[in-house]
């Protein structure tokens, strides 16, 4: 059972984008940080555990060439071995800040190059993998940035080709230490998933074809890929082989966000049907097959949910954002 906690007010309402909430918990100082995209701006705020807002900061997409103020597509914290960076993607490029948003350490402008004027140019999909930060683009290419332990000396080290349509989301998990173990998944608008192994050069291990429906959100946990699709389905695949193990008709409308609580193996799915569901992932000890159990469903009435995240690694609390809603809704288990 979950109960509704005190909401955190936002300066601007949340935009109707997917994965529109990022949460950073710094246990050392017992603060929660939230980041939400409003449109041409994004808001970063920190709050005490009970939800009392403490500080907030607004960001705008860096201008670059173009007529109107550029829109931000996503904002996300990347936790690296020696530092945490806040990454912002927009229709102009990629901005990286120190975790509190105080200093911009890097700007990468997107090069529209040969793109016909009919296509929208943007970056979308952000994840940290070891000491790399990977960001997706509208062409399907994934940019890999090498991040030093400190300072602004960030370098674009690789461009991964695997997708033909705009990237939607990227998920990573710490490498398990063995060889040829998948530790990154990228998803795109056609529903295609690419599975990678990170390293000084990233290797494409396998591709999981889509079925014509976008995959806006993807997660990776212990070799299990959880993918949410535009038709409301959640599918669980074996990462190394790409085999489909479980298919859940989880939602009545498009899924907009997935999140994972790694300590408990809990998966959170949120969709435009106003529902948030929590599932428990596991593997059968005999067959090794992926199993899933439904734990909880929460109806966020009259809200077109656009972002949802667990607020702690055991999955005992979560936060939700909705289109046109100027607050972050919070729930915790009783």
């Amino acid at each position: 059972m979950f109960r509704r906690e005190r909401s955190i007010p936002l300066r601007g309402s949340a935009a109707a984008l997917c994965n529109n909430l990022s949460v950073l918990q710094l246990p050392a100082c017992n603060l929660m940080h939230y980041a939400v995209v409003h449109g041409p701006s994004a808001q970063l705020l920190s709050a005490a555990p009970e939800g009392v807002p403490l500080a907030q900061r607004q960001f705008h997409a860096k201008e670059g060439a173009g007529v109107s103020p550029p829109l931000i597509t996503q904002v996300h914290w990347c936790v690296l071995p020696f530092r945490v960076l806040l990454v912002l993607t927009s229709h102009r490029g990629i901005q990286m800040y120190e975790s509190d948003g105080s200093i911009m350490v890097y700007w990468h402008a997107l090069d529209s190059g040969d793109t016909s004027s009919v296509q929208a140019v943007f970056a979308r999909g952000i994840a940290a993998s070891g000491h790399f930060i990977c960001v997706g683009t509208w062409t399907g290419r994934v940019l890999v940035f090498d991040i030093p332990a400190k300072g602004p000396n960030i370098v674009l080290s690789e461009e991964l080709a695997g997708h033909q349509t705009p990237v939607t989301d990227i998920a990573t998990e710490p490498a398990q230490g063995q060889d040829s173990v998948a530790d990154m998944v990228t998803a795109d608008d056609s529903g295609l998933l690419c599975v990678w192994r990170s390293g000084s050069e990233f290797t494409l291990l396998t591709r999981i074809p889509g079925f014509g429906i976008p995959c806006p959100s993807v997660q990776l946990w212990q070799g299990i890929i959880a993918a949410g699709y535009g038709n409301g389905q959640v599918r669980l695949y074996e990462a190394t082989t790409g085999t489909l193990h479980v298919q859940i008709n989880a939602h009545a409308r498009a899924i907009c966000a997935l999140d994972l609580a790694p300590e408990a193996g809990k998966l959170l799915s949120a969709a435009e049907d106003t529902f948030v569901h929590i599932w428990k992932l596991s593997r059968s000890p005999e067959s090794g097959y992926i199993e899933v159990e439904h734990c909880h469903g929460e109806c966020i009435s009259d809200t077109q949910v656009c972002g949802a995240r667990f607020c702690d690694p055991t999955g005992s609390s979560f936060a939700v954002t909705g289109y046109d809603l100027a607050e972050i809704l919070r729930y915790s288990s009783v």
């Binding site: 229709h91 004027s117 929208a120 056609s190 976008p214």
Partner: protein, 295 residues
């Protein structure tokens, strides 16, 4: 965001506008033989709808609209509909025009929100076009224009992927973000303080964008005024009590025949420093507005 959103936005809002005007004109309908000179008849209603629809679906206009481009600013779009609504003998006061625009916008926002799949926005657009065809059944030339637009829509959007439609839907929702107008309760108790300089600025901008041949209204409007409210008093009250943050700041086009006003403008202009770029929003939709002037 998506550079293919404008035609859908324009056609759907236009469709909503026509529904509302048709309804309102019918409500104020007077049988032809009994009507006085200044009252609406069935013939007048059809004429108004025909005029607006043929302006909306003008070939050059549509060609321009379907070019890949970013959405217009809210102000520019509002101005386009203001002109469209006045493409015929019908006249709307500010309050009625505001109410019309509020109803149009909220209705379409609601429809976009309710779409189960992003591709359904295209179906909503076809619905609007079907209804528009119903209004102009007796006019083969205009019917042809609308059919041509149907064809163009199918050609442009028929092959788009689900992912591209999702981007279009997101673009539309970002455009409508934070618009919460209670369309049933438009009476609010706040004073509006007029800013004369702002009005002059807007008039000046209008001149720069290309004057339109509108006869300067002198005294009572000749005949055909449409009221979106049930009585004139309500309309007046709505105009006075519209809160500042909901004002659309549409660009009022008026023929510059007033000598005093010309001098005033020249004085203001002299005080402007041309140091910065013209407002971005005035460049967007410029060509389209200029084109409308020639219609």
């Amino acid at each position: 965001m998506s550079v293919r959103t404008l035609p859908l936005l324009f056609l759907n809002l236009g469709g909503e506008m026509l529904y509302i005007l048709d309804q309102r004109l019918r409500a104020q309908n007077i049988p032809g033989d009994k009507a006085r000179k200044d009252e609406w008849t069935e013939v007048d209603r059809k004429r108004v709808l025909n005029d607006i629809i043929s302006t909306m679906f003008n070939r050059k206009f549509m060609e321009e609209l379907f070019k890949p481009q970013e959405l217009y600013s809210k102000k520019a779009l509002r101005t386009v509909y203001n002109r469209l609504a006045h493409a015929s003998i019908m006249r709307l006061n500010q309050a009625s025009m505001d109410k019309l625009y509020d109803l149009m916008t909220m209705a379409f926002k609601y429809q976009v929100l309710l779409c189960p799949r992003p591709k359904d926005v295209l179906l909503v657009t076809f619905n609007h076009l079907d209804a528009i065809k119903g209004f102009i059944q007796d006019s083969p030339t205009i019917l042809q224009q609308v059919d041509e637009t149907f064809r163009q829509l199918t050609e442009t959007y028929g092959t788009l992927s689900a992912g591209e439609f999702q981007l279009i839907r997101q673009t539309l929702l970002i455009f409508f973000q934070d618009l919460h107008i209670r369309t049933m309760q438009l009476f609010l108790q706040e004073n509006i303080v007029p800013n004369p300089l702002a009005k002059e600025e807007l008039n000046f901008l209008a001149r720069l964008m290309g004057g339109m041949e509108i006869k300067k209204p002198s005294g009572p409007e000749p005949g055909f005024r449409l009221n979106l409210f049930t009585t004139d008093e309500e309309e007046e009250h709505a105009a006075l009590s519209r809160p500042e943050e909901l004002s659309y700041e549409i660009i009022n086009i008026q023929a510059m025949q007033d000598q005093q006003r010309k001098e005033e403008l020249a004085r203001i202009m002299g005080e402007f420093e041309i140091a910065e770029q013209p407002r971005q929003s005035s460049s967007k939709g410029d060509d389209l507005l200029a084109m409308m002037d020639e219609l």
